[in-house]
C-alpha cells in the first residue's frame, strides 16, 4: 500500500475509513428510481450498469442526478446494511451526502464521502482504501 500521488482528494465531505472494490458508474444515477432500496442493486434497466449492486462497493460517480428522495434511499440502505462502503464524487452533492448525515444521526452508521476531480475519478484503481485521514490509497 502506498499513497498514490495521482489520487488527490479535493475535499473530505464526510470522514471515515472504508475498503472495497470500485464501482464507477458510467452514467450518473438518481438513487431514487435508480437503486432498489431493498437490494441495493441498480434497478433502472436503461442504466449501463443495470443489475450491479452498490452494497459494500466504493461507489464513484461524477454527480448525483434526479430525485431528492435519493437521501431516503441512501439512509434506508445504511439502515439495512446494503449501503456502499464509501462514496467518491466529482461534484459537491446535497442529496446522497445528506442521507449519510441523517443516517449517522439515527444511529445507522456512516460512510466516508470524498470529493475528487473528474480526472482522478476516471483513474481510480480497482481496489480502494479510503482513510480517516482523507486519503485514497490503492493496492500497488
Amino acid at each position: 500500500m502506498a499513497v498514490d500521488p495521482h489520487l488527490p482528494v479535493r475535499e473530505v465531505l464526510l470522514p471515515g475509513d472504508a475498503r472495497g472494490r470500485l464501482l464507477r458508474l458510467d452514467l450518473p444515477i438518481s438513487f431514487w428510481g435508480g437503486v432498489d432500496p431493498v437490494t441495493g442493486c441498480i434497478s433502472d434497466p436503461r442504466h449501463p450498469q443495470f443489475g450491479c449492486c452498490v452494497s459494500d462497493r466504493i461507489l464513484a460517480m461524477e454527480r448525483v442526478v434526479g430525485s431528492s428522495s435519493g437521501s431516503s434511499v441512501m439512509m434506508e440502505l445504511l439502515a439495512i446494511g446494503k449501503a456502499p462502503a464509501g462514496l467518491i464524487l466529482a461534484e459537491v452533492d446535497a442529496i446522497l451526502t445528506l442521507g449519510v448525515v441523517v443516517a449517522r444521526e439515527m444511529g445507522y452508521g456512516s460512510i466516508p464521502v470524498f470529493l475528487v476531480s473528474s480526472e482522478t475519478l476516471g483513474s481510480l484503481p480497482t481496489e480502494i482504501l479510503m482513510t480517516e485521514g482523507g486519503e485514497i490509497l490503492a493496492k500497488s
Binding site: 459537491v92 442529496i95 443516517a103
Partner: protein, 395 residues
Amino acid sequence: MQMATRILFDMGRILGADRLIPVASAHIDGCLYHGDSGVDFAELLVRGGGRVCVPTTLNVGGIDLLRPEYPAHQRDMALRLMKAYIALGCNQTWTCAPYQDGYRPQTGEDVAWAESNAVVFANSVLGAHTNRYGDFLDICAALTGRAPHYGLHVPENRKATVLIRTDGISERLKRQSVLYPVLGAWLGRAVGSSIAAIQGLPSDTPEEYLKALGASAASAGAVGLFHVIGVTPEAHTMEEAFAGIAPAVTLEFGSDEVRSTRDSLSNTDGDTMNLIALGSPHYSLQEIDRFEELRADRELKLPVYICLSRLVWAILDARGQTAQMEASGVRFVTDTCVVVTPILPQPPGVLMTDSGKFAHYTPGNTSYGVRFGSTSECVETAVLGRVVCDNGAWQ
C-alpha cells in the same frame, strides 16, 4: 429540534455555506415511503415535539389516501409516515406541484423546497431561491425556519453559463407541448448541474411547458435552475441571464437532438399497449381541460391514469366532471402517483405517457415498458385501443 439544527449545520459545513438564513416556506419530499428508516426519523421528530414554523407543503405520499392499495406492511408504514408529517404541522397538500395549488413563493424569496421538479419550477419560473434539497433537510428547514446559505440562495450563483440555441427547431414545434419534456431530458443530460439559458422560445411559452421542461431536466440531470430568455423572471435579456459575461459554452438543440432524445424516452416500439399514464408532475386544471378537449366525449378503450392533487381533483369534482370522466375510462390518482407506489395492474405491461419524468422513472420503478408521446397521441391511443403515432407532430 436539536437534531434538525445539527443536520442543517453539518450540511451547511459540507456544502460550504457561510451561515444559515431564514426561509419563508418549505416543501417536504420526505413524506414518501422508501423504507422503515424514514418513518423512524419522522416519528423521532414528532416524539421530540417538533412543529414546523414556516408554511410547509407535503409532496406525494406512498398511498392514495382516498383509494389505498399497497401490501400490508408498506401500507401501514407509508400511512404512519404521512401521519407523522401531519403531526409536525405540515399542510396536507400531497402534491409534487404545490405551485399549482396556490403555494407560490415570491420572486427573490428564500425557501427550502425538495422534490426535484418543484425546486426547478420555484427557481426558474417563479424566481424564488432554493437549492435541490433532499429528503430530511426539507423538514429540518421547516422546523427551524432556516436553510444553509449556499448555492442558488446566492444571487451571483444564479447566472447562466451555458447558452442553448434552438434556431433549428420550427416555430410550429416550439408551440407544441410535446417538445418540452424532450428539451428538458436533453438539457439535463447535456448540462448536468450547470445553469443554462435557452434562447429562441416563444415569449408566451405557457407555464405548463416550462413545468414539463424543468421536471424532465431535473430527473435526467441535476438541473436546479434554468432560464428562458425573454420568458423567465431572471432572464428578460441575454445580458441579465449571463450578468454581461459571455457564455462559457454554447450548445445547439436542433432536429437531430429532438429525434434522438425523443427516441431515448421510450424503451419499446412494439404494438402492445396496456394503459396511459398522465400527470407527472401532477396535472393542472389547464392540462386536464386540454385532455378533455382532445378526448372530445369519446370512450377510452385503454385505461388512462391521471395523477393530480386532491385540490385540483376537488375543483374538477365541483365542476361535475369527475364521474363522467371516470365513466369514460379515466382513473384518478390523488395524493401520490403511479411511479412511486404499486398502483398499476400486474403483471407489468407497456404504458404510454406525455411526461418526460414518467418516461424516465417508469422502467426502474414499475417494470412497465414505456413509450413517450404527445398528449394527443396518448388520447388517440387510449380511444382506439392501439398505438397511434403522429410523426407529423414533430415537424
